[in-house]
Symmetry: C2
Subunit: 306 residues, 2 copies
Amino acid sequence: MRLKELGEFGLIDLIKKTLESKVIGDDTAPVEYCSKKLLLTTDVLNEGVHFLRSYIPEAVGWKAISVNVSDVIANGGLPKWALISLNLPEDLEVSYVERFYIGVKRACEFYKCEVVGGNISKSEKIGISVFLVGETERFVGRDGARLGDSVFVSGTLGDSRAGLELLLMEKEEYEPFELALIQRHLRPTARIDYVKHIQKYANASMDISDGLVADANHLAQRSGVKIEILSEKLPLSNELKMYCEKYGKNPIEYALFGGEDYQLLFTHPKERWNPFLDMTEIGRVEEGEGVFVDGKKVEPKGWKHF
Amino acid sequence: MRLKELGEFGLIDLIKKTLESKVIGDDTAPVEYCSKKLLLTTDVLNEGVHFLRSYIPEAVGWKAISVNVSDVIANGGLPKWALISLNLPEDLEVSYVERFYIGVKRACEFYKCEVVGGNISKSEKIGISVFLVGETERFVGRDGARLGDSVFVSGTLGDSRAGLELLLMEKEEYEPFELALIQRHLRPTARIDYVKHIQKYANASMDISDGLVADANHLAQRSGVKIEILSEKLPLSNELKMYCEKYGKNPIEYALFGGEDYQLLFTHPKERWNPFLDMTEIGRVEEGEGVFVDGKKVEPKGWKHF
């Protein structure tokens, strides 16, 4: 059998079984150390899969750090140290690498973490693996959602997917709202403003990278619950609405299935809603299984690798 | 300018400058935590660069862990947690990945560390990034060599290079000593038996991955000293001698310039020699710069990525 027949999640199950591991399955791997929890995570950006050579290198550097920081935040932690392992073609311009690291540095300053090392290797295409170590006093995983919890998301959903589509149109000129969406795809910001809230109040938490339904499905599965979402409550940006109006699309589709928003999906009692954060209650944790939107079961169709 | 013109070490300098970093330059990155030192490191095996698809997958898994553990040991630490980030072609056989992880598991059991997470991404060729966290009470880097120190290496040198050459001959049948050399290339063992010795006694230490002269040169440079090596003292295996006799090669060349032995290179006073380890005194730390073999300055010609 080949990987594409087994699929990404089948492969992950196989790896866990082979390693006889019980610890793999959250955005980060928590390890106990010194009466604290260190959070270890790695995420990859590969040219041709996650980004194109034509993207601004500073943005690629920013994003490489941000997507890893997002995982640490999702589990209630703050980032501390990063390593960057780069695969680089030998005919690549030196300035590309320099500009990539300028983006990395800006991100590290913003999130208050530090690149302490790395590795360089030769390859045909650019490949970026970031390893990040964070820490937290309380680990919040995917498996803690409780019956009766409200389900919340940070920010707005679907923008990144619209931004990607706009980018791939390769238009000569873009309208300001279009540029804003493209920006959200190229230069996502991990929600570091949520760390204290997640750490203190969330029962379950993860970041939304594959798409809301796909990720809510992971959370529901791990927690052994059903997640009910009301589509009218989904937070949509004005830019996404303008995009959908202009191109005849349905913004709800983008919010439900668009990936790479790097917003947070978390559950806790309704009364823990915090007016100082841009969080929106989008549904409820109930008895059962799967993800339901407006009372109808919805299958995930987010990004899959195989 | 392109990467191949700048070269690997020029690129590393550029990255350090861009990040305004002072901490990059040892086998691992030491970070203070809880009055201990955590050691962070990452090393990569790329198909076509570091290994071929035809290699035994279990051996590739073993090696991926071993080369990272070797870095941690070189700095006086023990490995604790690993993440593995895999780039995989979608038409790869599932059994390949399973066998790879069997090798990973064996290595982790041997070195007493644990894979706690990872990432999978699609790509054209297999790429393996391992991220390892170790810990030590005392970090031993490249910069501590003292005048008058003796220079030691563990084990024997040059075997891996000979093993690689034999492998690339693709012979129908190999003699037993040839298989032993191939084994040393495919399945190197990080010298975990040296951890206490390095941690307790070494003034400077690193592992030999690029080749003795190339790596001794890094150590000399960072310590601001000259390293004098006597070629007659270089530890050579019987298998390497048999190989060189059979194929008309000079074993000293292999010991000086062959890479990927993953033995240790370290310095400390002569009287700290430990008879219970297979360590050999190969030279002295003296005033000056560069690496001298039998009194003659030798330029490094180890593996370079660009």
